[in-house]
C-alpha cells in the first residue's frame, strides 16, 4: 500500500483517520477522567461536537494577518509530523525522514502557537508560551537522549527500522523491555509532551486562564482543538513506535494507543499540576539522570 493509488488514497485519507482516532481518544480520555471522578462523563465523541461547534462560530474580530498564518502553521506542522510517523500499513514518508526530521517538525506547532499568541497581546497568553518553552527545555533534552541511546543500540535513526527491530522477537524485544531506563524516562517526557498533569503548566486555567488559548475563540480555538486531537495520536504513536514495538496491524495499533492513553490520563486524573520551576526540577532530577544512565550503560555494553 506504499505505492500507486493506495498511497494517494492514504495520503488523502490519513488526516481524517488520524482526526477520527484523535476524537475517539479525546472522548475516551474525558470519559475515563469522569469515571475516576465518579461521574457519567460526556459523550464518547464529545471532541467532535466541540470542534464542529467551534468551527461553525462566526466573528468579526481578527488579531491580524500573522495570527491567521500562525494558526495554519500550528495545524500544518502537526499534519506534517503525522505523515512522517510510521503506522501499520503506511510508512511511505518515514523512508525519507528519520526521527531527527520528526524532531525538527515537531517544533513547528509550538512556534506557530508562539507567533499567533504573541499577536493577541494578552499577558496570560505570553506567560503560557513562555511556560511552554520552559517545559520544552525540561522534557526535550531527555526525550532526545532516550532516542539517541536507543538509536545507538540499534544502529539506526529511522523510526520504521527501529520499529521493525522491536517487532522481531515479540514483547521481549520491545524498547521498554530491553531498555527499561530509557523507556520509563521517555514515559515521563510523554506526560510532559502531552501537557497532562502533573506537567500541565501551559494551560493552567486557575493560574493563567488557559494561557495560549485565552484569546482564542471560534475557528481559532477549533484549529487548536483539531491540532490537539491529531497531536494526541502523533505523540502516542511516536512513543509506541520507539518503546512499545509499534504495531503490525490496526487492531494492535488502536489497542496499544488506548492502553498508553489510559496510563497517561489516569496519572492526569489523580495529580495536581507542578509549579513551572518544580516541573523543570523534576525533569532534570529524575528522568534526565535516568536517560543518561541508560545511554551510559548502552555505551559500556557496546552495541
Amino acid at each position: 500500500m506504499n505505492s500507486g493509488i493506495g498511497l494517494i488514497v492514504w495520503i488523502i485519507a490519513y488526516p481524517f483517520v488520524s482526526f477520527s482516532l484523535g476524537v475517539l481518544l479525546g472522548g475516551y480520555g474525558r470519559k475515563l477522567t469522569a469515571r475516576i471522578q465518579r461521574r457519567v462523563g460526556p459523550s464518547w465523541i464529545q471532541p467532535f461536537f466541540d470542534v464542529v461547534k467551534l468551527m461553525s462560530k462566526k466573528t468579526n474580530v481578527s488579531h491580524g494577518y500573522m495570527h491567521d498564518v500562525a494558526m495554519m502553521m500550528l495545524v500544518g506542522g502537526t499534519l506534517l509530523t503525522m505523515y512522517f510517523v510510521p503506522v501499520p500499513g503506511f510508512h511511505y514518508f518515514s523512508q525519507f525522514g528519520d526521527y531527527i526530521v520528526i524532531m525538527y517538525i515537531l517544533l513547528v506547532p509550538p512556534l506557530g502557537m508562539a507567533l499567533g499568541v504573541g499577536q493577541t497581546a494578552n499577558p496570560n497568553g505570553s506567560i503560557g508560551i513562555a511556560r511552554a518553552l520552559q517545559m520544552l527545555a525540561g522534557y526535550e533534552v531527555t526525550f532526545v537522549l532516550t532516542f539517541i541511546g536507543f538509536a545507538m543500540k540499534n544502529g539506526t535513526t529511522s523510526m520504521y527500522e527501529l520499529m521493525m527491530i522491536q517487532q522481531s522477537g515479540g514483547v521481549a524485544t520491545w524498547g521498554l523491555v530491553t531498555n527499561p531506563l530509557l523507556g520509563v524516562a521517555a514515559l515521563f517526557c510523554l506526560q510532559g509532551m502531552m501537557n497532562e498533569k502533573p506537567f500541565e503548566v501551559v494551560i493552567a486555567p486557575h493560574e493563567i486562564a488557559t494561557g495560549p488559548m485565552t484569546e482564542m475563540g471560534g475557528k481559532y480555538l477549533g484549529m487548536m482543538f483539531i491540532q490537539h486531537l491529531i497531536n494526541l495520536v502523533v505523540e502516542l504513536t511516536i512513543y509506541m513506535n520507539l518503546f512499545l514495538g509499534g504495531a503490525t496491524n490496526w487492531f494492535e495499533y488502536v489497542a496499544k494507543l488506548f492502553a498508553l492513553f489510559t496510563l497517561v490520563m489516569s496519572v492526569n486524573a489523580v495529580y495536581g499540576r507542578f509549579r513551572t520551576d518544580s516541573a523543570l526540577r523534576f525533569f532534570w532530577k529524575l528522568p534526565l539522570p535516568m536517560a543518561a544512565l541508560g545511554v551510559i550503560l548502552i555505551m559500556i555494553n557496546g552495541i
Binding site: 477522567t33 493577541t120 496570560n124 486562564a209 489523580v270 495536581g272 509549579r275 518544580s278
Partner: protein, 386 residues
C-alpha cells in the same frame, strides 16, 4: 483586544507599569477568572513571574445589605441576611437573631439553642468541603472537587429536609428556630456524619497527602503568628499560624460552653497548615454534631413573637460575634425602638483576610501561587462587599 484586561475596565491602576523601559507589567486576575473565589479581582504588577505589588478590587457583589436592612422590617431581614455569605450562610442568621434577642432580652428555648448549634456546625462542614474543592481546583486536581462538593450535597440535603432550602435556610428566627426536627432526622444526620468521616481518609489519599499538594502548598502564603495578630486575622487563618483562638471557646454563644471540642492549630503558618486546620475542624464539627444530638433536650423550639408586621424591638444596641467557617463574624445592631433596624453593621470574616492580608501575602509571591494563596485564606468576596 485582550479580554482579561478590558473585562477589568482597562484602568491603569498601577502607574508606571507597561512602560517600555519598565520590566514590570500589569496583570489582572478576575473578576472573570477561574482562579478567583467568587466575583472579585486582583490587580497585580508582575516582573517575570514574581508579583511586585498587589491590589484587590471588590464591590462587584455589593448589594447594599446594610442599607436594605434599614429600609425593611425586622422580620423581612431574616430572609435577606443569609445572602451575605453564600457558602456559609448560617452565621448570618445566627448573628441577626442573636442581636435582636440581646437587644430585646428574648429568651431562646434550650432545644432551639441545640438545634442552632447543629445547623451552624453542619454549615461549617459544608463550607469547608466546598473550600477543599476550590483549593484542589487551584492546583488542577479536579478529582477532589468532584468528590467533596458532591459529598457536601448530602449536608445540603439534610438542610433541605430540615429547613426547606438547600443553600439559604431562613431558619433561625429571633426567639428560636422556625420548626422542630422532622422525625427520624437525627438518625439521618448521624448517617451523613459517619459517611463523611469515612470519606476523609480517601481525601487524605488523593489530596492532603498528595505529593504535588505538599510540593505546592507548603512554604507559600506564610502568615506568621505575629503578623496574623497584627493584621487582624481570625478563624482558621489565625489558628493555622498557631494561635488557638476560637469565638466558640473564648466568647461562647448558644450552648457551645457545654460542649467538648478541641481547637486545632497548625505550626507552619503556611497555606498547607491552614488547609489542614480546616480538615481537622471537620472532625471536630462531626464530634460536636454527635454531642448535640445526644444532649438535645425535648421542649419547645420557638418563643412566639408578636405580629411580625408591627413588631417593635426596644431601643438599644448589641455587638454579637460568631465563629463562621471563615473566621470571626460579627453584627453590630442598633434599634431606635421602631419597626425597622436603625443600623446593622456586618463585619464579615473576610474583610481582613480578603483585602489587606491578601495584598500583603501576594507581594513577592509567584503568579502561579496567587490563586492558591487566595483559596488558602478562604476569603469570601460577598462578605467583603455586602
Amino acid at each position: 483586544m485582550s479580554s482579561i484586561i478590558t473585562a477589568n475596565d482597562g484602568r491603569d491602576i498601577m502607574p508606571g507599569a507597561n512602560a517600555p523601559e519598565n520590566r514590570e507589567y500589569n496583570m489582572f486576575i478576575g473578576p472573570n477568572h477561574p482562579g478567583i473565589e467568587g466575583n472579585f479581582a486582583l490587580k497585580l504588577v508582575v516582573e517575570g513571574d514574581t508579583i511586585v505589588r498587589a491590589k484587590t478590587e471588590a464591590g462587584f457583589l455589593h448589594r447594599g445589605f446594610e442599607k436594605l436592612m434599614e429600609e425593611r422590617l425586622f422580620i423581612q431581614n431574616i430572609a435577606i441576611v443569609a445572602r451575605i455569605c453564600v457558602p456559609d450562610p448560617d452565621p448570618n442568621e445566627e448573628n441577626y437573631a442573636r442581636a435582636i434577642e440581646t437587644i430585646a432580652n428574648i429568651e431562646v428555648p434550650r432545644r432551639a439553642q441545640f438545634i442552632r448549634v447543629l445547623v451552624l456546625e453542619l454549615s461549617r462542614i459544608g463550607s469547608h468541603l466546598f473550600t477543599f474543592g476550590g483549593h484542589a481546583g487551584t492546583i488542577g486536581l479536579y478529582t477532589l472537587p468532584n468528590w467533596s462538593i458532591s459529598d457536601r450535597d448530602r449536608v445540603l440535603e439534610l438542610f433541605e429536609e430540615l429547613t426547606g432550602g438547600r443553600v439559604y435556610h431562613i431558619y433561625n428566627m429571633p426567639g428560636g428556630v422556625r420548626r422542630d426536627l422532622p422525625s427520624g432526622f437525627k438518625q439521618r444526620v448521624l448517617d451523613v456524619m459517619s459517611y463523611i468521616e469515612e470519606r476523609l481518609p480517601e481525601y487524605d489519599d488523593i489530596f492532603f497527602n498528595n505529593k504535588i499538594l505538599l510540593n505546592r502548598a507548603q512554604g507559600i502564603g506564610v502568615l506568621p503568628k505575629d503578623k496574623a495578630l497584627e493584621w487582624g486575622a481570625t478563624g482558621p487563618d489565625l489558628r493555622g499560624a498557631g494561635f488557638a483562638h476560637d469565638v466558640r471557646k473564648d466568647d461562647p454563644y448558644e450552648v457551645y460552653g457545654e460542649l467538648e471540642f478541641e481547637v486545632p492549630t497548625g505550626e507552619a503558618s503556611d497555606a498547607y497548615s491552614r488547609l489542614m486546620v480546616r480538615r481537622r475542624e471537620i472532625e471536630q464539627s462531626i464530634s460536636i454534631v454527635r454531642q448535640v444530638l445526644d444532649k438535645m433536650p425535648e421542649g419547645p423550639v420557638w418563643n412566639k413573637q408578636p405580629n411580625p408586621l408591627k413588631w417593635r424591638v426596644p431601643a438599644g444596641d448589641a455587638y454579637v460575634r460568631t465563629e463562621s467557617s471563615k473566621g470571626e463574624y460579627a453584627y453590630y445592631m442598633v434599634s431606635d425602638g421602631g419597626i425597622r433596624p436603625y443600623r446593622v453593621h456586618v463585619r464579615g470574616a473576610s474583610v481582613t483576610h480578603g483585602v489587606h492580608i491578601l495584598e500583603h501575602m501576594l507581594t513577592g509571591a509567584r503568579i502561579e501561587d496567587a490563586s492558591q494563596i487566595m483559596f488558602s485564606m478562604d476569603a469570601c468576596p460577598p462578605e467583603v462587599d455586602r
